[in-house]
Structure formats: C-alpha cells, structure tokens
C-alpha cells in the first residue's frame, strides 16, 4: 500500500514547522513518529499534499521536573516515557500506560505529542492525560497558548489545535497515588477494544478508552466514588454518558459490559 504523493518538508525548528503550516493551511499535516499518520496515509484515509516532518526537533524531546508538574516535550517517544526515572516517582501512571502502547517497534518511533494531536479515542495516552488533568502547550504564528486536556479532545480525530499550531509540550501534574490501567484487546499489540484507567490523587479519576468519539472521563463513576460508593457499586455506572462504537471487535452492549468490568478491576487494583 503506497500513500498518495505529497511534498515533503523537513522542519529544522518549531518556528519553521509553524511557518510551513501557515503557508500550506489545511493541506499540510505534521509528521512526528508517524505511527498513526502513516498507516492512515497508506490506506489513503489521509491524503495530505504537504507533509511537514518535525521528527528531528530533538529540542522538543525531554521529560523535565516542572515543580508541581512534569513537563514533557511533544516529540518525546513512548520508549522514553516508559523508561523515565522521573516519571517512575512523579507520575507512574503515565509511565505505565506508555508501556502499553503498541509494541516495542511502535514505542521506538511514536511520540506523546503525536498521539495527543492525533486524538484517537482508541489510543491509550490521550485518555491517560485526560484522567491526569494534563495541560497542553500549543504554539502558532501568534504565540503560545495552553489548553486543558478536558477541552482538547473535541471529536473523532478532532482536537482544539488550529491548522497552523504545533503542540510543543505536555504538562502532567505529579500524581503519585495508586493507579491501574486495564486494556482489553485480542492481539497483543492492538488498540484497546475498551480500556479503563483509574488514578488516585485524593479523589479518584477514571478515564475510558474507545467508549466514544473522544477519550472520556467516567464522570458518573467518579461522582459515585466521591459520594462513598464502593468500587463495585461505582463501576456499575461506567457506561453512563458513553457512546461506544460498534465494530468487528464488539457491539455497543459488549463494550458497555467491558467498561463496567474493566473499571471495577482498575478501581480495585488502584485501591479505590
């Protein structure tokens, strides 16, 4: 499978990438690790006429202590997250979820920023960042702005990023409490048919993978837990407010059942 032809632009700085995006508008796509975009291009579900390669912006690859949060460069690979000593203590949930993405080969190439900007509801990391209340830093021709994770994912593969904006940094609050990620799939390296992440940090936050057109917070579960419900009681509410897809991997009913079971397991393993 060969992608449609495109013009290749290699950006040597964030500003050069933004200039290329500004010049080419919605005809252009950013290429980071390519683990989501290249398969879509090979299937010709994505046919950008200009590809702006930001994969060499190594100054956007870092995991740094930002005081009350961890600052992660958008070009940081999943491999660098799953082996990060800082994340092991400051945010083990993110480290653990990164280790569940795809397979070794994918984690050697795929980047956190790429996964976020792609905004796939079936991806592990966007849901994790939603549960962790992360903040995203986007840079465009007019300067920088920050976007809360809760406002970032707007629809299926749609995010708050403008056509001429580059995601540069992900800020993740330090969360050292109990956590657990339940990922259900049929082939080892596949996307989750359904995934559920529970993170404790005072209150308990729960996020769902592949239960709607965006990554979702299981708000009803969180409210019930805050009101004193047990993990098993709260997990019964896991499918509330979701719009699960129906496909070859499972029907809506099957996914809703999985959500309830996986949320219960995640809550129990996280000690909620």
């Amino acid at each position: 499978m060969i992608p449609a032809a495109f013009e290749y632009v290699r950006a040597d700085s964030a500003d050069a990438a933004i200039a290329a995006l500004t010049e080419h508008g919605d005809e252009a796509k950013l290429l980071a690790g390519g683990m989501s975009l290249i398969p879509l291009m090979k299937l010709r579900l994505a046919t950008p006429t200009v590809l702006v390669d930001v994969g060499r912006l190594t100054d956007l690859s870092y995991v740094r202590d930002g005081g009350d949060h961890v600052a992660i460069g958008a070009l940081t690979r999943h491999r660098d997250l799953e082996t990060s000593d800082l994340l092991a203590t400051a945010c083990p949930a993110l480290r653990g979820v990164a280790a569940e993405v795809g397979d070794n080969q994918v984690r050697h190439r795929g980047t956190l920023g790429g996964s976020v900007a792609h905004g796939d509801p079936a991806s592990d990391l966007p849901a994790a960042l939603l549960a962790l209340d992360a903040t995203f830093v986007a840079r465009g021709p007019g300067g920088e702005r920050t976007i809360a994770a809760g406002e970032f994912f707007q629809g299926f593969l749609e995010t708050a990023l403008a056509d001429d904006e580059l995601l540069t940094e992900i800020r993740v609050p330090k969360v050292a409490g109990g956590w657990d990620y339940q990922k259900f799939n049929r082939r080892a390296q596949d996307w989750a048919i359904v995934g559920a992440l529970a993170v404790r940090n005072g209150s308990t936050r729960v996020a769902l993978v592949n239960m709607g057109s965006t990554p979702l917070r299981a708000t009803a579960v969180e409210v019930a837990l805050a009101g004193g419900a047990s993990a098993a009681e709260a997990a019964e509410l896991a499918a509330e407010g979701t719009e699960a897809p129906s496909d070859l991997n499972g029907s809506v009913e099957y996914r809703e059942h999985l959500a309830r079971v996986l949320v219960r397991r995640a809550l129990e393993a996280a000690g909620a």
Binding site: A5, F6, Y8, R10, D103, H108, A188, Q189
Partner: protein
C-alpha cells in the same frame, strides 16, 4: 528527493519519491530483499529493521525519515561472513523458524529487545516480541531461541 542512509555500514544514496517507504528503499532501491513485507499495516513485524540501533517497522516509516541515519537489516546483523549473530545462531540451533517468512523480522526485533533487556524472563521475551507475528504459530521455539541467545550474549560478557 535524494535520500542517503548508511545501511549495514555502507552509505546508500538514491533518488526516490517522498512517499517511498523505508522497506521499499531497502528492497527496491538497494536490492536488500532479506527484509520482508508481511501485512503492510504495521501489525506483523516481518519488516522489522534497526534504525539507529532500535527496532522499527520499515513499512511504517518513510525513507526520508531515515535520511542521514543508520539502518541495520538482516543482511548486516552478523559480525562477519564467517560468524552469525548470537540470535541467528540460536534460531538455527533451536529451530526458531518454520516457513521462515517472519524470521528476519523476529531476529531483528529480538536483537533490539536483548539490547534493552539483556537478561529477560520467558514472559518478558513474549511481551518483547508482541509486535511480531508468526503465522506458523511457531512461537515456542522462537521464545526458546531468544532465551538461548540471551544466555550466549550474557556468557560472552
């Protein structure tokens, strides 16, 4: 566009379209057909090569992304023409292949995995190779091969 990649220690420079995948560059421009195209959807891992020392799926990377970098394919893994890499030897001795189609990718993925985890458990080997599929389902001997290679490499230290 001109793409130059050091492949198995030799610089290869070719004029290709930007949409040329790394695996096409290897097989069609360089004639290195040891790297296989299996699923072509980044699932099966048959096209696995090392890019700057780490396993990647060459069907899901543009040659342009590897421009200026170093790639090792199955043809270049052995230290010399007289001596196989420990992973290759182990696959030979432990019958880690049946039809052989997944083998190049398995060997490259295993070599990269053992760099990162030199002393793995059997479970870690199975997880470490989750990106590689064997349609003969010959996983048992593949896992035994990788464990044997790990021991050989550890003993040589």
């Amino acid at each position: 566009m001109r793409v130059s990649i050091t492949i198995n220690g030799v610089e290869q420079s070719h004029d290709v379209e930007p949409r040329t995948l790394l695996v096409q560059f290897l097989r069609e421009a360089c004639g290195l057909t040891g790297t296989k195209v299996g699923c072509d959807t980044s699932s099966c891992g048959a096209c696995t090569v090392l890019f700057d020392g780490e396993s990647v799926k060459s069907c899901t990377m543009f040659a342009a992304q590897a421009d200026g970098g170093a790639v090792t394919t199955i043809e270049g893994l052995a230290p010399s023409t007289d001596e196989m890499h420990a992973v290759q030897t182990a696959f030979h001795e432990h019958h880690g292949l049946q039809c052989g189609f997944c083998t190049a990718g398995m060997v490259m993925a295993a070599a990269s995995f053992l760099e990162e985890n030199p002393d793995p458990t059997e479970q870690e080997v199975r997880l470490g190779l989750e990106g590689n599929l064997c349609r003969c389902t010959g996983y048992h001997n593949i896992v035994q091969s990788v464990l044997a290679a790990a021991k050989t490499l550890q003993d040589a230290k």
